[in-house]
């Protein structure tokens, strides 16, 4: 909405109540919403608490330019709390890690490593640990097909599709039993 249409800055009836010259700086006049030039607004859901406020992710030139509340949602009707309103900086943030960091045993530093290398290395470590610790039967002879030497933790901040694959791969595929997340806390 253009400032002139809002009727508040000098042109509307209230504007004429002020002293002359207008106490509105050029900066104020030139201010515009961050989302003005967005090419699209993509529906999303707030990543913080479990109320499930709907958000709109505003995109320009394949970059996120802002994240705001979605007025269409019956849950939040466009509103967000301080955390939800700060979602933009959760994603667009210079402190964010964007490459794989690797710390070798006993090393005192992080090293950047290629993603594919890390994926191969992690798969190999899982296989080695699983093979070395897998228990088919208890001493009493009960079939258990499990390992307690690898554990996973997490899921409450993630999609249900991701949670489903964690349980399927690590429990149904690999025999891990300690699969847990924040819901336990």
């Amino acid at each position: 909405m253009a400032i002139e249409q809002a009727g508040g800055l000098g042109l509307g009836p209230l504007g004429r109540l002020g002293m002359s010259p207008q106490p509105v700086s050029r900066e104020s006049i030139e201010k515009k919403p961050r989302i003005r030039d967005a090419e699209k607004a993509v529906p999303s859901v707030c990543p913080y608490c479990a109320v499930g406020c709907s958000q709109l992710v505003y995109v320009k030139d394949k970059r996120i330019i802002d994240i705001e509340g979605n007025p269409a949602s019956p849950i939040n009707e466009g509103t967000l709390c301080p955390k939800g309103a700060a979602t933009y900086q959760y994603v667009v943030n210079p402190n964010r890690v964007t490459t794989v960091r690797y710390r070798a045993p006993h090393s005192d530093r992080w090293e950047d490593r290629p993603l594919e290398w890390a994926m191969d290395r992690i798969a190999t470590l899982i296989k080695e640990t699983r093979d070395a610790t897998f228990v088919e039967r208890t001493p009493g002879g009960k079939l258990v097909n499990q390992t307690t030497a690898i554990a996973t933790l997490g899921g409450a901040t993630m999609d249900i599709e991701e949670n489903y694959l964690i349980k399927k791969l690590f429990s149904g595929g690999l025999g891990l039993v300690s699969i847990e997340n924040q819901a336990r806390i």
């Binding site: 529906p43 479990a50 301080p82 901040t157």
Partner: protein, 792 residues
Amino acid sequence: MGSNMAENHPVGFRWPMKAREKGATIIHVDPRFTRTSASANLYVPIRSGSDIAFLGGLINYVLTHDKWFKEYVLAYTNASTIVSDGYVDAEDNGGLFSGYDPQSSTYDNASWAYAGQRDETLRDPRCVFQILKRHYARYTPEMVERVCGSPKDLFLQVAEVLTKNSGRERTSAICYAVGWTQLSYGAQIIRAAGILQLLLGNIGRPGGGIMALRGHASIQGSTDVPTLFDMLPGYLPHPAAFKDDTLEKYNRESGVRGGYWSNLPKFMVSLLKAWYGDAATEANEYGYQWIPKLTGDHSHVSTSAAMADGKVKGFIVFGQNPANGSPHAGLQRKALTELDWLVALDLYETETAAFWYAAPEGWKPADIKTEVFLLPTAGPGEKEGTFTNTQRLLQYHDKAVDPPADTRSDLWFLYHLGRRLKDLYRDSTDPRDQGLLNLTWDYLPDRPDPEWRITDEPSAEKVLMEVNGYTVADHQQLPDYERLKDDGSTACGVWIYSGVFPAPGQNMARRRNRSPDNYVNPEWGFAWPGNRRILYNRASADPAGKPWSERKKYVWWDAAAGSWTGIDVPDFPAKKAPDTPAKGQGTGLDLHSGSDPFTLKADGRGWLFAPSGLKDGPLPTHYEPLESPVSNALYKRQDSPVAQRFPRKDNAISAPGDPRYPYVVTTYRVTEQYTSGAMSRWNSWLSELMPEMFAEISPELATEKGIENLDWVVVSTPRNQIECKALVTRRMRPFRHNGKVIHEIGLPYHWGYQGLVKGAMANDLVALSEEPNVFIQEDKALTCNLRKGRLR
């Protein structure tokens, strides 16, 4: 109660505030005067951990003042059910129920069982109603004041408001959060709320219920799906070694003859078909033996203890931060040093990822063997998928942009890790590897979306379609869970979610339509089960199927059409008339009459008394927290007889009344930060709003200890000690327990040693412990000491 909704679920709290504008009364019962208290009509202080005494007092008030909703209670609860002759109540046994074995600290619940008859007059001394009356008879307003420190007149105001606002014309809701669950009897507090709401007729009705205010975007989803050790998807028990040898035995023993859970074999076989595909056959028990069997407690707390002892070698952490977010955080960090390898997936370098050089213990990296990977992950707007919110609502979020550089979705990590592992094992003929090799794992999109740079991103919708379920023979999506079979002809990943993707291209979680004429908004997202927004909503109508009142009309029996109808999906067999008699034999819902609304319960009734399902008693009973400055004023038994304490050198728990730790400490969150801070303390806006760790202290305690506002203080427990600034405030107040003054201290737990703003970790003070039903630690009521000054 047990929640600071205004602070922690601010946008959700907008609706109670709107209700207040329309005349609703908001009551807040909490140890601290918080933003919620400030917005409430009535604030009632309560000593941390004494919630069962308070709720028991309300139950007693309802019973002794004859304020219970008679038609509802008689028809819809087990009030009239006679309990076994062998049952002995905690009232008659020093706080212990019959069946307790002090050797193993467990209950055998055989004596809590139903005897098999009902007494509709409710006069039989062994009927649930009479047992309930006796159990809570001593929970008087005076006792509430003595035990909870809640002034009697305020307690009575709560009782009056609640009972006046319940019945045919009106309903009341109870909201809770981790202020209830993070206690060694948390499940029993929620049970107490359940008893109260059933007595008042507030379950299954609009404006009623018990609302769990959950703290993470999809923590409900991660409970449903779940990433928890003791369950398979859709609340199926995870098979245990000591009893579930075969699928047949598992199905027989886990299933229940009466009620909807009698269908459990259908859910289980369909899950196995979803996981193992064509390799799951009747001959091999549909792959049942590939599912690992539990050999004990594999919960997060137990696993942390095992890890600290060097028994866990590898650890994968998805968007979580145990190094400061889990109980006994110092032990958690020590446990990380015992690992061979750690994989942390996050957007930021968390305390968990950085433990080897940044932990406050000051370890030398050269002494730490752990191989550490920090994999950068995608954030909001950078991937698509589903969150399940706190009201069981599945909402899909779309992808707006590619994640930057080497960041990937967790779905990408899981899919490609699984693909690699299958490849590493591809030549194995070892039976132990066949589960992995047979795992269905086909999630790449049929053709990559040309809009995105990352072309090997798996399709979240393909996963959701498997979660929904399909027919095996012709791979048709299932419309709902009613179609599931136990003969291997259907596959379904999460039975309670069935219906979310009933046909290709029909992602119900992605629906975003408002319904101006229906406040339920049934076309916004998809609520499990079957898009029902209120569970057990058959109870919103009377036994004859008519709404209890026009004002509270929700679902009802349409005799002309011969079906249930209403503004929500009826949570009842659609064509089962209200006057349908229960069949004397058979299984499942046949055993329920047309007026038994609680379809998942074996007897179709709401349980005032729980004959099974809980490890710590059939009725909520007041115990003190594991650490308490006082003795139990109601029973000889001090604390939960079955909670786990983890007796180990590094996990000392203070004895009741230990003079070295005279104060109560409780932990909490603030609006501007988020749990361990991994999602908020790298954010300059949020860090500026709430930059520093503090301890909330009452003026009375501050005077006693010579502490002034903003002074440094040290808070200590037998596990650890931390330093932070004192925030002296009247929001905290001393309590009286049986006349003795009890001071409480409040600690937020958002800070750590990473991020833009750093500070002491409240979780360093917490002990490892477990509530017996759900294995959650107790951190809402600990004892501590306090002094003015710095650590060193």
